[in-house]
Subunit: 338 residues, 2 copies
């Protein structure tokens, strides 16, 4: 079927080794040979067979993206990250395999690893337990985790810098003159919420405002709970706040409904800001200002990082990256009501 290195060698009148050298751009090839081989390759429309190369070198130029199988709750960030990784991997001639596991059963990954199908592993949304670590060590598989794992580890990881995102949110509100903050977060154990809260406190502190001016309430992550909690709080302490930060869109929706019921005008009497544009910050009334994390860029960086990891397997890199983007809309300013 395909043209092989052998035919190219014959056409060019050199050995297959020379063709291979040209193919892999070895420095030690004379210009004439290179020239002749190049010409032959063009003439015969030669394309090297990856399978053969893989067998000979032991490398596959393939990386696997491992995630959980959850047909129902697709995390919108997951796809953006996947996309970013593929994109940056492509620049280094790596291909990306997509693999989902069920209920923590690592069998598919074991197969892939023991069959030596991949040179590297990127893990997303999977708990880092002993069985996974054992696997990674057994095959000395260069690995990158998306998201800082709960427990300390010597594996490399990359994660968003949620504190910085919180700072950006706070700065936006401070800019508009806000001084009394209410943060509506998810459950306390939620790392993301608390990091964002910390960022707010930090930003506020820089303005000389004490952290006692930033109230934190935490509710179950559905609009109704946020609505109830905010109503209760504002009825009790009317005028205690001039802005509300909601940890995500769903909570923000509840916040808006509470304010509407209480006849508190947004943004004139109360500014509201949230994180992410998923699923609907852009379609509320008024439209919500938000800090969206550019997870696609996170993916791009992750691709870069796994390549580094494959080139320097012994190196451990653990990085927070910040790509917060302020989408300022009607809920924090007067001038631009849609």
């Amino acid at each position: 079927m395909g043209v092989t290195i052998k035919e190219v060698a014959r056409e060019a009148g050199v050995s297959t080794a020379s063709v291979s050298r040209v193919l892999n751009s070895f420095p030690s090839v004379s210009p004439e040979v290179r020239e002749r081989v190049d010409r032959a390759m063009k003439k015969l429309r030669f394309v090297p067979d990856r399978k053969a190369k893989s067998l000979a070198t032991g490398k596959t130029s393939q990386v696997v993206f491992l995630t959980t199988y959850e047909p129902l709750f697709d995390d919108p960030h997951k796809f953006a990250i996947l996309s970013g990784i593929e994109r940056s991997l492509a620049r280094y001639k790596y291909n990306l395999l997509f693999l989902q596991i069920n209920r923590g059963d690592l069998t598919p990954l074991w197969k892939m690893a023991s069959q030596k199908q991949v040179d590297g592993l990127v893990v997303h949304g999977i708990e880092i337990d002993l069985s996974l670590i054992k696997l990674i060590e057994e095959f000395a598989l260069p690995t990158l985790l998306i998201g800082e794992p709960k427990e300390k580890t010597t594996l490399s990881w990359i994660d968003n810098n949620n504190e910085v995102a919180g700072e950006v949110a706070a700065n936006c509100l401070l800019k508009h003159g806000c001084r009394k903050f209410l943060f509506v977060g998810g459950r306390e154990e939620d790392n993301i919420s608390t990091s964002r809260y910390k960022g707010i406190v930090r930003a506020v502190a820089k303005k000389g405002i004490g952290s006692d001016e930033v109230e934190f309430i935490s509710v179950a992550p559905v609009p109704l709970q946020a609505e109830k909690a905010v109503k209760a709080l504002l009825s009790a302490k009317a005028g205690s706040f001039d802005c509300i930060v909601a940890a995500n869109n769903l909570l923000a929706l509840g916040v808006l409904r509470a304010l509407q019921d209480l006849k508190i005008k947004v943004p004139s009497q109360m500014k509201v800001i949230t994180f992410d544009d998923y699923p609907f910050a852009n379609y509320t009334k008024p439209r919500l200002s938000s800090i969206s994390i550019d997870v696609h860029s996170l993916g791009l960086s992750a691709g870069q990082a796994i390549v580094d990891q494959m080139r320097n397997p012994e190196r451990v890199s653990q990085t927070y990256i910040a790509f917060p983007r302020l989408n300022e809309r009607a809920s924090t300013r007067y001038d631009n009501e849609p």
Copy 2:
């Protein structure tokens, strides 16, 4: 590094050919040999190397999912489909590569195909132009398109049956006594909208209602346009409709806002239904009934279909599949207001 077939052969006291036969479950192997080989494989924890197998057979057991690179507008369906495909491919021991192309530049796919890295191709969200067809033919690459292409083709494809989805929506409304339908769709050239509309007409016809009782208006796909159009129409022809079908969530949001402004109560005076739960049918007030298409199942079927295509490359299969699911909520019934 890894255990090879050779060592297994020695351990079992047979030839490598026999090990290979056992590995591929050839019928013509004596029980004793099979037994001995099995034991040896277990003992040595043998796992065959896919790269070597690929080189020997010319097959890779890999399929590529080709889609466009668009970091900004991630189609939520895309991920669900990808997930489904991976899932069903796994059952057949195929792995899935994820590949994005930019601005229609097929170079990455050419590389992959000419390097013989994949046995099959699944295309999603990419225009089927001549260059793609040429590629597919040149490599005789088994291919499956997700979504019926605009132009007739001899390639295999699989698509949702949007007409059936339309019927399901209409039946829900008919069940509640609705007789006068308003369909708010996207642009006319939008295939999905028109198919759904057709389904409604068909369902309604079965009840002896003429298609003149189903009014179709088409607006730009943003809430505001739907809101305006519905307001204008209902002000002009008050009482002409007892239900509204919105082609998607965004339009439905506009519809709800229009009805709210007109003080028309949902669902008592007007029932509303829409398609998909993306991004927010579940969070409007009242919550929207919707017909969601189970795109993950579409992905599962697509995986099945590409496997068939690889096994029978000459066969052309073009299929509409229906997985509509009715999510009935407050916007079409009285009893269950959240």
